[in-house]
């Protein structure tokens, strides 16, 4: 369920952030508690708490005393902005760089992207 590459608390934070970005966890909705996360992922409760802490520090979750943690207003929008920025960095920039090396000019690249997105079973974003 979890991998060996990154600290477990980071993975917990990432999973929850993904669910918020996808809308699976709506703004204002209660997120699983430390103990629920610990039991589900079979991890130490302290690790689960640390994962929740990352999102709280980023202002994506807010604590309501005695009730639990909830998705903060505006969390989804901020996560999507962040994802778009990363998309450019991770995919668009390397794509443009590699295209340049192959002598594909920007117009040609755009045409290729259009073509791929019109091909059934092709790229879906």
């Amino acid at each position: 369920m979890l991998d060996d590459a990154t600290p477990l608390f980071t993975q917990i934070a990432q999973r929850l952030a993904e669910e918020i970005a996808d809308g699976a966890l709506a703004e204002g909705e209660r997120v699983p508690s430390t103990n629920e996360l610990a039991a589900y992922y079979r991890i130490n409760p302290a690790t689960a708490a640390k994962g929740l802490g990352v999102l709280t520090d980023d202002g994506l979750l807010e604590k309501r005393r005695g009730i639990g943690m909830f998705v903060a207003p505006g969390a989804r929008g901020r996560l999507l902005d962040e994802r778009r920025r990363r998309f450019t960095e991770r995919y668009v920039q390397p794509l443009v760089a590699e295209a340049g090396r192959l002598g594909i000019d920007p117009d040609e690249l755009v045409a290729l992207i259009r073509q791929a997105s019109h091909t059934p079973g092709g790229i879906t974003l």
């Binding site: 979890l2 590459a5 477990l8 039991a39 992922y41 130490n44 690790t47 991770r90």
Partner: protein, 298 residues
């Protein structure tokens, strides 16, 4: 503040064998710490001395700030579950009753639930139980005691994977509801990796690694693919366990790989696999394996 467990300068010498060599360890507050290492490394000796079932040659152990030796007030706040625990010739039910008298926080309800889950026959004599059932009984006592200091020394002899899973899940649930200081000695590291906050590794009687489990994760990576490309990626980094076949090679590199490294690895068509906690521990038990990295860029 007094730490829950303080071990300092602990040495235990048997006639020709140094089982513990100047071991220091502090555990404070509720946590689950994994005590790992090869068989015969000294894990059991350490736990036995912490539980006052054995005396050290030198050094000392304090539990709740006091020596546990013949100290009933301290011993009642601890439970020690040994590998292959031996019991007097009594029935399962009687062993549970005796444990309930000794441990002040004993939870009879939990014991009943666990007895059912592990399918233990309460009216059977313990000597008629299988090895796995005896382990299960010890685990039930270890969890139901709800002792502030809970020591498990490879408690799963004869238990199959399903029963071990049950043990880990119940340990986690119990710990979440009633936090306590747990020391769990094991060599099945990957099975419990997620449960551990801290990993203490003992090798030939010495502590060779003591770190937060999260700090260990991702610290070592296996890189494999065409030799020239592997060398290009790992140049300048500490490496271990280099293996070659024909033009292919596989090497373990220290230090986490960042995004740039991963991009380069992809460009070079290299496979990158993080080491599991278990594999990291194998590396840590073999420090001599470090290789000089004087190779130039390929």
């Amino acid at each position: 503040m007094t730490a829950t467990i303080t071990v300092s300068g602990l040495t235990r010498r048997y006639r020709h064998h140094l089982a513990l060599d100047d071991v220091g360890l502090t555990v404070d507050g509720p946590s689950i710490t994994g005590l790992v290492g090869r068989n015969g490394a000294g894990k059991t000796t350490l736990l036995r001395i912490v539980a006052a079932q054995e005396l050290p040659t030198a050094g000392r152990v304090l539990v709740f700030g006091a020596s546990p030796i013949e100290n009933d007030a301290v011993l009642r706040r601890m439970v020690f579950v040994r590998e292959d625990q031996t019991f007097p010739d009594i029935k399962v039910r009687d062993a549970l009753k005796a444990a309930s008298w000794f441990h002040p926080h004993w939870c009879g309800e939990l014991a009943e639930t666990l007895i059912g889950e592990f399918d233990l026959p309460t009216d059977r004599a313990i000597k008629r139980l299988s090895r796995g059932m005896r382990s299960a009984l010890s685990i039930v006592i270890g969890l139901a005691a709800r002792a502030e200091v809970t020591l498990f020394d490879e408690p799963y002899a004869g238990l199959d994977a399903v029963a071990r899973r049950l043990f880990y899940d119940r340990l986690l649930a119990e710990y979440a509801e009633h936090p306590r200081t747990v020391l769990l000695s094991t060599h099945l590291i990957d099975e419990v990796a997620g449960l551990l906050e801290r990993v203490v590794m003992i090798d030939r009687g010495r502590v060779v690694l003591d770190a937060a489990a999260d700090d260990i994760r991702g610290e070592w990576t296996t890189v494999s693919g065409p030799s020239a490309a592997v060398e290009q990626l790992v140049a300048g980094r500490p490496t271990r366990g280099r293996r070659r076949i024909a033009s292919q090679e596989s090497v373990i590199v220290a230090g986490a790989l960042d995004d740039i490294d991963h991009l380069r690895a992809r460009e070079l068509h290299l496979r990158v696999e993080p080491l599991s906690l278990q594999q990291v521990v194998v590396q840590a038990s073999n420090p001599a394996a470090e290789e000089p990295n004087d190779r130039t860029h390929a």
